[in-house]
């Protein structure tokens, strides 16, 4: 059953590091700054905990966009975690793009604990990008979805 375009809302998974970005998202809440409800946050200790398999899994299960948020480079709670994230995700995203997956479906953003407003603007723009792209067709698992 395909939903028509009007009904369709993107599914967004946001992996947020516990120390910066998850707090940044909390701050957005504390300041009552609104962002699209399609964004669902998963808390991880550090952005470097995010395994490429998690990202692919999200797409498999029907996510339309996956975003990773971590501390700004240099501010990692574990000192070097986000540097690993930066390299790993650059390489992974490049590979996904190479396989023809739209590059806008994946993103890494650095959001500090003080950047509630930035968290919101990042999510707004990401959701807008994904909405423009439409449903994820190139990396989904169609099983169990056709009836």
């Amino acid at each position: 059953m395909q939903m028509n375009d009007k009904e369709w809302k993107p599914k967004i998974i946001a992996f947020c590091c516990n120390w910066c970005s998850y707090s940044g998202a909390d701050l957005a809440g504390t300041n009552r700054l609104s962002y699209p409800a399609e964004v669902k946050i998963i808390r991880v200790p550090c952005s470097c905990r995010v395994n490429p398999m998690f990202i692919l899994r999200a797409f498999q299960q029907g996510a339309d966009g996956v975003i990773l948020c971590g501390c700004h480079p240099g501010d990692c709670h574990y000192s070097t975690g986000n540097y690993h994230t930066r390299r790993r995700m650059t390489l992974l995203f490049s590979m996904l793009n190479y396989l023809g997956v739209e590059s806008a479906r994946t993103r890494v953003e650095w959001v500090s604990a003080a950047e509630g407003a930035r968290f919101v603007s990042v999510m707004d723009s990401f959701v807008a990008d994904i909405t423009k792209l439409g449903p994820n067709r190139r990396l989904e698992d169609l099983r169990c979805k056709t009836n």
């Binding site: 599914k11 504390t30 609104s34 200790p45 899994r57 999200a58 574990y78 070097t80 790993r88």
Partner: protein, 666 residues
Amino acid sequence: MQKIGVFVCWCGSNIAATVDVKAVAEAARKVPGVVFSADYQYMCSEAGQGLIKDAIKEHGLTGVVVCSCSPRMHEATFRKAVQAVGLNPYMLEVANIREQCSWVHKDMATATEKAIALMQAAVAKVTLNTPLTAGTTPVTKRALVIGGGIAGMQTALDIADAGYEVDIVEAKPTIGGKMAQLDKTFPTLDCSSCIVTPKMVEVGQHEKIHIYSYSEVTQIKGFVGNFNVTIKRKARYVDEAKCTGCGACTEKCPSRKAPNEFNMGLNNRTAVYIPFAQAVPKVATIDPEYCIKLTKGKCGACAKICEAGAINYEAKDEYIEVEYGAIVAATGFEMIDVSPYDEYAYTQSPDVVTSLEYERLMNAAGPTGGHLLRPSDGKEPKTIVFIQCVGSRESCSSGEMRGKPYCSKVCCMYTAKHAMLTKDHYPDTDIYVFYIDVRTPGKNFDEFYRRAVEQYGVHYIKGAVGKVTPEGGKLKVQASDLILNEQLHIDADMVVLAGAIEPNKSARPLATMLTASMDTNDFFTEAHPKLRPVESPTAGVFLSGMCQGPKDIPETVAQAGAAASKVIGLLAKDHLVGNPCVAHSDEWMCNGCSQCETVCPYGAITYEEKEFRMPDRTTKVRRVAQVNPAVCQGCGACTVTCPSGAMDLNGFSNAEIMAEVDALCR
């Protein structure tokens, strides 16, 4: 099969006004594994917690999900609550339906739908959670301070005063460090020796401090609370216990050609020597490179004169192993080698000196007895040129670099000091200071600098020196004055180079032993640049003084105290309670590739050759990763680098996170 209870908090109207909490609790009941759900006005209140506790007891819950505010807010509260009734605290998950739901969404239907999704993700995760117990490790109540300069001494004194044993390992025959070589200190112009030597004595006499002078750390094993350190005690050829420091041997020694390190090589010392009068420990040392007995086999003059019989030509390097709970790096600094700066003629004329050499030339205990005399002809200099930023603030774009990219921080101030002291003693000296910027952020610093200009008439010239040419007993200095826009030619008697400072050469190998991280300039990296400035990212390793970055004496002492307080805080504990959310390796799946070891910022992963009994009843020795839970901080970098997934993270396991992903994508 898990029995999970879901508790939905209203948070007054904070949640309930936007999220239909009843609907969330209702939806929870439909989730497989959930046997109980409830909603309540304030879950964090005594009554709310009571509700949770009662449900655990009544329904035999094995896992709890609280849908409430951010876990950063009350996760600890709820963990304590469930623990109180015997549930493992890590069998609890918080679904953040306030900060990340009710407060950011306005439409009730939307917010409720999202809250249900978040609840389901938390249930999915808690279903896979396993009880976790934090490990504890005992703490060895002894600290090691590496480096016996002012930083190391201050750290050691502060720790020792708190009642803990401290060992100082110092590479030189005496503690005291660079500060002992200085003449006066800025901006107060008080005598450096007068303040540092009493500290040295205090350290030497403190019953809780043991000094391993003329020694080096060669191996560090273990982890926070339980370091095992191998110290190499270099052969001194003088028995420390017997030597009285009378100095008779140094008088008799016929080998007098060894450069005197304490005076920056400006004069010579004997092969058997005591670095300076106030040395601690005041014990002689034989320099094996210059000792005639040790190089040629004949002589023995010192042994003959020594009444204490302390001389022992047969001495060998000794290695001792000591256990420590904490380690402080206080390895200090050196001045860079300025000889690559050909344009400043350092290697061409003895009258071009470094600031530290100039310091010794001014010092009453120095080679000239405190009279400022030119090294070339022993005459008083009439014109002195000081050149700032020699090797500091250099561009690092090219591969071949003579200097350092950073500002060395102390040169501006000590040059002002040198200028003033010189003017004080020899008022008719002409002094030129060539600067790029004069940096004086510090209490009474700018006033100090202004005094040099206004009171002493030191010529401060904005511009650099292009070249120094020794010619006819003079040093021809060619420089530009950027304010007057003219090129200057000064005939100077002496030129003083304020060379950049760099970390001591021993710091890099030490960092490797400590698995502590360093920046590209070989300064130790702090655990957090703002909030944890005296800790290394490696647990149990602390930083004191210049080894972390350029700083002056008061800053060094302040940091030394701060490092000491961190050490005291650690040693005050009998046991360290670890974070149970640490990585662990499935030995059966580990293939020993060591990728995880390379990404661990804490050195928590080691490899062991272990014997395995295989299913086909053979034994096989395999190299497998071991995580030390006391050192691991739980970032998870290793889990992603492990291709087989042998490495996983407690509390945030692959399966748990994937279950959350699945739940949220539904």
